[in-house]
């Protein structure tokens, strides 16, 4: 394909490959012009924070979709991890463990626990040849039911107060010309200074983007990543080439449920509560983000950068709607149109499809 395109078509090719990025840029420009105060460091950071749930779920889903599978359980695995982390924090706090340690242990054990559903999903898909749709749909129910049982059908509250300050805090607080502090605002500053202060790097986004970057690197730059594309491209050929398909598939589903669990933990930090339905509304958004980002549900294509752009397109739209005072359900119409558009472009211009490289 590349051989055919020279000179004149080269720019079209590059433009085509980046069309979703241009779409995102278009959103930013439009909302910045017609919105109020949309183009500001504060607002963009809000958008990044609001995007963390979709971002994390989409990051895991990217791996699965590239193998030609789908993970429908991520939303409720996220809820399960959210409930588990909150429950452990509340229990440890009741046992008069310090706030910091309770939070740390709560998060860590939820992340570890979050690997389990992926292990089961992966084993079902790889070893027992259950279609991914069915295996993960089963886990969807199991995870949801389990988390409702764990929290008695009621969101867990009464977490250590520090949780909310971590989840809603920033890495840096910068007061131009006066102070620069880590983790909490400078002490003893007046109301006027507070207005001038610029908080930078929201904690939950920083945690999330680090994880996404690491796995983005693994996907794009390691042999394991290349094998995943190979499995999605042609699973039989991958087997013949001696790729340990089953082992890789199990890992892929574990990565997906790890990201889901991380989404749950970030939710706990942000909203100071453990809810079984924490990720329910975001499961489809995450698949949409991955597909807008150039992945095909038939497998073999997709990229982490694409999924990040897909996520931002959705998050930007949601915040833009609120900024304009429009009801957010308008976004479903736009997201629906963009989704179909993305698939159509990829179908009619196969040379634009972003393959792993």
């Amino acid at each position: 394909m590349e051989r055919v395109m020279g000179g004149q078509k080269e720019w079209l090719y590059r433009l085509g490959r980046a069309w979703v990025a241009f779409f995102l840029l278009g959103e930013i420009v439009v909302f910045s012009i017609i919105g109020t105060g949309f183009f500001s460091a504060r607002n963009f950071q809000n958008i990044l924070v609001a995007a963390t749930t979709i971002l994390l779920l989409a990051a895991g889903e990217t791996f699965v979709i590239i193998t030609g599978g789908i993970d429908l359980s991520v939303g409720f695995v996220m809820g399960l991890a959210c409930v588990v982390s909150a429950k452990i924090m509340v229990m440890l706090q009741a046992a008069s463990v310090s706030q910091g340690l309770s939070i740390l242990l709560g998060c860590a054990s939820a992340l570890l626990f979050g690997l389990l559903p992926g292990l089961v999903n992966g084993a079902l898909v790889a070893k027992l040849r259950v279609p991914p749709f069915i295996a993960t749909f089963g886990m969807y129910g199991v995870a949801y039911g389990l988390s409702e049982i764990l929290c008695n059908n009621v969101p867990i509250s009464g977490l250590p107060p520090l949780v909310g300050f971590i989840g809603n805090g920033y890495l840096l607080y910068y007061l131009p010309g006066k102070a620069l502090t880590f983790f909490s605002p400078p002490q003893g500053i007046g109301r006027a200074d507070i207005r001038a202060m610029i908080p930078l790097f929201p904690n939950v986004f920083v945690f999330s983007i680090i994880a996404v970057a690491i796995f983005g690197f693994i996907l794009a730059r390691t042999q394991f990543g290349q094998h995943i594309y190979a499995i999605g491209g042609n699973i039989d050929a991958a087997r013949r080439a001696g790729i340990p398909v089953e082992k890789h598939l199990i890992r892929v589903y574990m990565i997906s449920s790890f990201f889901a669990a991380m989404g749950g933990v970030m939710y706990t930090l942000r909203f100071v509560t453990g809810r079984a339905d924490a990720g329910a509304a975001r499961m489809l958004d995450s698949v949409v983000a991955v597909v807008i980002g150039g992945a095909s549900l038939y497998g073999g294509t997709g990229s982490m950068v694409g999924s990040i752009i897909g996520t931002l397109i959705i998050a930007m739209l949601e915040t833009g709607m609120v900024n304009l005072g429009l009801p957010t359900y308008n976004k479903y119409v736009y997201v629906g149109i963009i989704l179909v558009l993305a698939v159509l472009v990829d179908q009619f211009f196969p040379e634009f499809v972003r393959k792993g490289e």
Partner: protein
């Protein structure tokens, strides 16, 4: 000498306050109304806010009325509104007393004043310094007292004996938690009345209906139910009607929606407590106006009263104003 000094200080203070007031004047705040959920109660608050803003000539930004109750819906909306940069006051009903502390604090740190209506953060006492005492004021019904009075009235209806059940929404939402606490307190005065359960429907009417149906199956001798908000109460009376127990099981409900008033007329519900959401809205805007334009100190807590509807007074002309009609 001392007297002169004291007098001087006093005069300076008074002049200072007056001058300060004059200088502060002219700054009309732009208000943002961020409802907690799309329901008739919040639409009535919104109506009060809009009318008062118009009267005082204040600019108003209305965010969307969310379809679901919860911090995960509310926080992104609040943050997006705050980030507009043109808002001076946000009026909102926090959807969780724990989860909203940090996000609202962050918005307050941007220089935006917060007024909480209907529900509060922390324990609702903003008068003592604490990590949640930063809002300007909390304007809402005395939910505890309402719960106590409902208990007494329901106890009268069921002859001061038997089993009662409570259907409510969330365990971390200040308003309904206090209604339940007040109800328990009121009922504790009746040794022959037993509260057999409290269930949480999370503001989902269908869930309320299922839970009440299950409670009626487990305790067929329930004689009274308290539904702590409109979804809880509407779900409760549907379950009671389906079980063929309308009129046998007395239902006390909170919030005078047109649906509940109709149910009262039809005998499906026996008591309706009406809050005064319109007044809550107008009070909130007045507080913002007084704080910004007149430089006044705002009381940290304002309590509009409530009104009880029964089948005897539901058609009284003077009672009609308390029905929630947001059109």
């Amino acid at each position: 000498m001392r007297k002169i000094l004291v007098a001087l200080v006093l005069v300076t203070l008074v002049v200072g306050i007056l001058v300060g007031g004059v200088f502060a004047e002219g700054k009309k705040p732009k208000i943002a109304w961020c409802p907690a959920i799309s329901d008739p109660f919040y639409y009535m608050i919104g109506k009060g806010i809009a009318d008062k803003c118009k009267e005082l000539g204040l600019e108003l930004f209305v965010a969307e009325y969310p379809k679901a109750w919860g911090p995960e819906v509310q926080v992104p909306i609040l943050e997006a509104v705050a980030a507009r940069g043109d808002i001076d006051v946000i009026i909102t009903g926090p959807t969780s007393k724990d989860a909203l502390i940090a996000p609202l604090k962050r918005i307050h740190d941007m220089g935006i004043e917060i007024i909480t209506v209907d529900t509060y953060i922390g324990d609702g006492d903003y008068s003592k310094p604490s990590e949640y005492s930063f809002p300007l004021t909390f304007i809402g019904t005395d939910n505890f007292q309402g719960g106590v009075e409902i208990a007494h009235r329901l106890a009268e209806m069921i002859g001061k004996k038997g089993k009662v059940f409570v259907e409510t929404t969330n365990p971390d939402v200040s308003s309904v938690v206090e209604r339940v606490e007040g109800f328990k307190k009121g009922m504790s005065e009746y040794p022959d009345i037993e509260i057999v359960g409290v269930e949480y429907c999370l503001d989902i009417q269908e869930k309320a209906q299922q839970q009440v149906a299950a409670a009626l199956a487990a305790h067929p001798d329930i004689v009274g139910i308290f539904g702590t908000n409109l979804y809880s109460a509407q779900g409760a009376y549907q379950a009671v009607v389906n079980a063929g127990l309308a009129g046998v099981v007395k239902i006390a409900s909170w919030d005078a929606t047109e649906d509940l008033i109709k149910a009262l007329r039809e005998g499906k519900v026996d008591l309706v407590l009406a809050q005064k959401p319109y007044e809550i809205g107008t009070l909130a805007v007045e507080a913002a106006y007084q704080y910004f334009v007149e430089g006044k100190e705002i009381p940290k807590r304002m309590v509009p009263g409530f009104f009880f509807f029964t089948r005897d007074n539901v058609d009284d002309p003077e009672a009609q104003q308390y029905i929630y009609r947001a059109d």
